[in-house]
Symmetry: C2
DNA sequence: GAGTTTTTTTGACAAAAGTCAAAATCGAAA
DNA sequence: TTTCGATTTTGACTTTTGTCAAAAAAACTC
């Protein structure tokens, strides 16, 4: 429990009452490798943070799946889109390593927002953070070649090579697995 | 003034006091076509909304500029990245049609956030909205061909063809102008 | 450790997109 | 209207990436 409070209060300090209220609704779970946290087509009703482990989100298109993101420790596990709009998620969330997750349900979070407005500040700052990260990713598609995107990704997350398959990484970069293999081959 | 209050309160109702406070710090400006609202390298210290007119944000790379977004009425004009982090903006914001803009400065907005916490809710909801739009754009790069991206863009914003040059649109789609021209040629 | 399954790499070819240069078209100004 | 300048299109060619199939390598199971 403490861990998540700690993570969140890095965005903005939380009052003791807020901390208590959050702690009382927090859910903490151990989930095994292969577990599907959110299924395509279902509504995302929980906002989890990955305390320990590894996961990814992906779309399915014409039978093949395309990675949207990888989650490391401290990252959010949710379909923002579905969680915010309460519409069915396009994303499937798959646990890739035995993990510990902690989070709150949609209803509970909105209770928190209502009763402890300070959480709106945190919510805003976290959303801003993820917005900026996503912006960077969008720009990488617009500006960089596949090879540049790959090398930059590996530089930022060297662990990724141990944790995810090349197929997962290739689809994340928006290229075929063969192209990624060739990028890796040269130099 | 009323217009902007109206727009914003679509995200969440604002108390009369909040409305007054916002109104008292709002800036409203007429800016001519060609005006540069934010220069690359400068810190974005204002959050404007486009009341009327048309604008775009772009990066410059190797002498050529690449459109990041187009802004229609009701859209935000700012470099989120720079505004949130107070680091120099990579984006340049250019007014493409005589426009009316309305907004607040960084300091004033943070005063509002501090004195009227309800604005954090609005800030969060607006950021969420833009996050989801950006997510869609990112996916389009990962999933769709240039041709699909083009047709979808035009379907969503038919006015764009009247307002922006093909060069601007091509760079927004992440392709060369010649490729866009050829996409348009076939059917 | 042999055999099976999955992942990764390689080869051959096709399709998509980029580049450079020139031509055609469009629009505003004289 | 004519002209100048910018935008858009077209042509020829190159580079990048995709696809399908097969081979090689790695990981897993018994």
């Amino acid at each position: 429990m403490l861990w998540l409070l700690n993570q969140i209060s890095q965005f903005a300090p939380i009052s003791p009452e807020g901390q208590l209220a959050l702690a009382s609704v927090l859910v903490r779970k151990e989930v095994p490798k292969g577990y599907v946290l959110l299924e395509h087509g279902k509504i995302c009703r929980h906002l989890y943070m990955l305390e320990k482990g590894f996961a990814r989100g992906y779309y399915t298109q014409d039978g093949r799946d395309i990675s949207l993101w990888f989650a490391f420790e401290g990252d959010i596990l949710a379909s923002y889109y579905s969680f915010v709009t309460l519409k069915p998620s396009y994303t499937t969330i798959e646990i890739l390593e035995d993990s510990t997750i902690a989070g709150v349900s949609y209803d509970q979070l909105n209770e928190l927002y209502r009763n402890y407005p300070e959480f709106n500040l945190i919510g805003r700052l976290m959303t801003e953070k993820y917005f900026i990260e996503l912006e960077e990713r969008t720009l990488s598609f617009q500006f960089q070649s596949a090879s540049e995107r790959y090398h930059q990704l590996i530089e930022k997350h060297p662990q990724l090579l141990q944790k995810a398959s090349l197929g997962h990484i290739a689809s994340f970069l928006g290229i075929s697995q063969e192209t990624l293999s060739r990028i890796r081959a040269k130099k």
